[in-house]
Amino acid sequence: MRKARAAAILAGLAIAAAACGNAPTTTQPTASGSAPASGGAKPLEGVKIEVAAKWTGAEQKNFEAVLKAFTDKTGAQVTYASTGEDTGAYLGPRIQGKNPPDVAILPQPGLVQQYAEQDALIPLTAEVTKEIDANYTPYWKELGSAEGQVYGVLVKAAHKSLVWYRSQPFEDAGVQPPTNWDELIKAAQTIADSGTPPFSFCGASGWTLTDLFENIYLSTAGPENYDKLSKHEIPWTDPTVATALEKIQQIAGKQEFLVDGTSGTMQTDFPTCVSKVYGTDKSAMVIEADFVAVEADQSGAKVGEEAKYFPFPKAGDTTPVVLGGDVAVAMKDSPGAMALIQFLASKEGGEVWAKLPGYLSPNKNVSPDNYPDELTKQLGQTIISAGDAVRYDMSDLAPSAFGGTDGKGQWKVLQDFMRNPSDVKGAQEALEAEAKKAWK
């Protein structure tokens, strides 16, 4: 989902790679090198497990460290296969070829439903389900389920309810990080008066606009309405949607709030919008997820000093916590697959992972104290304190024609709305029309 543009460009490549990826020999063996010879207590000695996920680079290394902990514990040999950005394109041919990996980590819960319909998934055993019940709120269990069966568990989360800011313009304007929406607007006005356009939006990357909408909607309409709207049980013409769009209007309607004005905003993609805040220092705030830290760092800003964040301000009654994240599912009926998923869902596995950088756990029993830095600790704390009100990224729950395609569905309508923020009603009707097409 993130860096969707890059994903699109690489999609052709990924399809080609997927076609070659049928043979399991192309996957690189990892963690297996250190398979311990000491037997006895290890129940899965000699069992081979293949796990596929989209992570590369540092994320892959950290995940492999977690896999090694699993190997040390059980004796199973785990190989990691990278799916590239387009997980669906990688897994599709392997499912058709009846040669799926034992465990796959899916970037969208929507894929759980899709593969469950194709009978490509193995329901989790009672043991694993018990582990989920102990560590996760019921919302997450339902998210990994299809037709009453539990198939998957969210193993890694991305925190999408953050507003990143640069400390200098806040100091220059003499404002404090706001805690509610009205304060945010007031702070933005003061920063604009001081000569810095307060907001840098990534208008060219539609998913950043859906994230903004989701945070405001979760806050103003509450979790129940959020769930209903996610499933299209209430129409997009509902008054609660209007309320949320009006909040966006308060920002998008003011040229002095937007760096480079509306037309510049609509040509700015992610992560260019981040570099407008931290690289060229033209703006003060960017509203996006925890992974902005990586981009801010690349723009030369020190995270925690120059690059700071505050939780997405309350626009209504609920403090919004919207997560994205990856769901682990079993694709082969093997004891090794179940054991690995159980390990990833457990407090023990989560804590191994949490000690590594760049990871956030949705597991409520993984204590934030495990995180390596202060910033991640705070993020983890917000997830735990939000409890049952935490929600998954709505656009990732929608059919991807509505919530995940450039120039279509929600992305397009919200981009049009950013261009012409006066027409709330028109935007709602367009959203409803698109939703009807996608949910038919």
Binding site: I15, A173, G174, D193, G195, M266, Q267, P399, A401, K408
Partner: protein, 458 residues
């Protein structure tokens, strides 16, 4: 395919038959001189097999697939085709393709023709042709990346806007405080009125006027700006224009605070009964004074010219200009190809026809219109039709140059086909329908080109 193979078979028969002095009953024997049907089939087989696998089968399967929905199991008949002509986004796509087909081939052929004719007359023709032909060596993807940068809105990055702003600034330069404005709300003594900042209450001679301005960008704040001073009361109409924002907050709104700086160089007008009575410019500390004004009340105005943003060029990558912008990139790539082809045709024109016309007193324009173009018309047509086929299936340039937020406005059929098939919806039924639609559009031009080639052979 088979027809083409028949072709080469015929000439030997004719050649053998024509000058032959032998008896007339020989044709049967001479037929046997050609390959026997078995040998022909053996030689044909590999090509036929490959074409079957890679051309015929995909086309047939696409037609078949286009009759099913996204999952591939539900039969929808012609539903996907109906969707192409009913969906609003698809209609935009078709409209864009129409613009492409009408504009791009004509522009490419015309420019190619002009270059070809002109290069005949210049000294460094080869070097010039080489340079114009060069873009053909660049992949369309790379050309797209290049033009994405050319069309960048920021004149510091985008070449197109850099040229526009340079030309514009040569004729009129803007100095001032773009995007600066009075503070919102009722407390401010001044307000925006049609782009200018005016005093809400008429100013009296002898009472200083305050112009608190906010939103002055740090980069436009002149280095000679001094801390703002309240203008002394006294004779004449005076006042202060200053940046009413204390760094770090604090400060009283609409009052000159110690650390706040004046805005030098702002034009101030005193207006009475709709007429500008006097004009002044602010000093380094933001103060201004109109000397020798008669007593009375005036409206004091900072005209719009003080706040005009520097000309930033055009929004090439916005919804309005995106298709012309991409066509520009397309022309850049293909003009060289057209030029080389037309130049080759030009070289083949009989010189005596041109010379005869010149001797008869025709002007160069008449020679060009009445002799060169008609003699070139077969080549021009080939270039034109090739360009039509190329524009119909244009994909990479649109995909790369158009930012995602304007892709719906820049969309073309080939891109839409890929997007619906492999992006998001994964609706390969609709994608196949679009592919077949595109094939049907291209087919007449392909047939036309093949016909022409065959006529050229004979």
């Amino acid at each position: 395919m088979t027809e083409r193979l028949d072709g080469p078979q015929d000439p030997p028969a004719q050649v053998a038959g024509g000058p032959s002095t032998g008896p007339a009953e020989t044709p049967r024997k001479q037929r046997r001189l050609g390959p026997s049907p078995t040998v022909a089939i053996v030689f044909l087989l590999p090509a036929a097999l490959l074409l079957g696998i890679w051309v015929v089968y995909p086309i047939v399967y696409s037609i078949f697939r286009s009759l099913f929905d996204s999952t591939g199991s539900g039969f929808v008949g012609l539903g996907n085709y109906a969707m192409i002509f009913s969906d609003q986004g698809m209609l935009t796509t078709i409209r864009n393709n129409l613009i492409w087909v009408v504009v791009a081939p004509i522009v490419v052929t015309t420019i190619g023709l002009i270059f070809a004719v002109l290069t005949e007359r210049i000294r460094w023709a080869t070097a010039f042709k080489l340079i114009v032909f060069m873009p053909m060596a660049v992949s369309l993807m790379a050309a797209g990346v290049v033009f994405r940068l050319v069309y960048e809105e920021n004149p510091d990055k985008g070449l197109a806007n850099a040229i526009l702003t340079t030309v514009h600034d040569t004729f009129s330069s803007s100095q001032g405080y773009p995007e600066a404005r009075p503070r919102e709300g009722d407390q401010s003594p001044v307000a925006l009125q049609g782009g200018a900042v005016v005093t809400k209450q008429p100013a009296q001679v002898g009472t200083p006027v305050l112009f608190p301005i906010v939103g002055v960008k740090p980069e436009v704040m002149p280095s000679n700006a001094q801390p703002a001073k309240a203008a002394p009361a006294g004779d004449g109409l005076s006042g202060t224009v200053w940046f009413d924002f204390t760094q770090g907050g604090g400060g009283t709104n609409n009052a000159v605070d110690a650390s706040e700086r004046g805005l030098p160089g702002v034009t101030v007008e005193a207006v009475r009964d709709g007429q500008v009575a006097a004009t002044a410019t602010t000093a380094d500390d933001g103060t201004f004074r109109f000397d020798g004004l008669p007593q009375g009340s005036y409206v004091v105005r900072l005209p719009q010219s003080n706040f005009e943003a520097a000309y930033g060029g055009l929004t090439w990558l916005g919804p309005a200009l995106i298709t012309p912008a991409i066509i520009g990139a397309f022309v850049w790539v293909w003009a060289g190809f057209a030029m080389v082809l037309i130049a080759a045709g030009l070289a083949a024109i009989p010189r005596d026809a041109l010379e005869a016309a010149r001797i008869d007193g025709a002007t160069e324009w008449q020679v060009f219109r009445k002799i060169t173009v008609p003699l070139l018309s077969p080549v021009l047509l080939v270039v034109f039709v090739t360009m039509i086929i190329n524009t119909l299936k244009v994909f990479d340039l649109v995909f790369i140059i158009a930012p995602p937020s304007v892709q719906p406005q820049a969309n073309v059929i080939a891109l839409e086909m890929w997007r619906v098939s492999f992006q998001g919806g994964n609706n390969q039924g609709l994608g196949s329908a679009l592919a077949i639609f595109l094939l049907i559009l291209v087919l007449p031009f392909m047939i036309m080109n093949i016909r022409r080639f065959r006529r050229g052979d004979s």
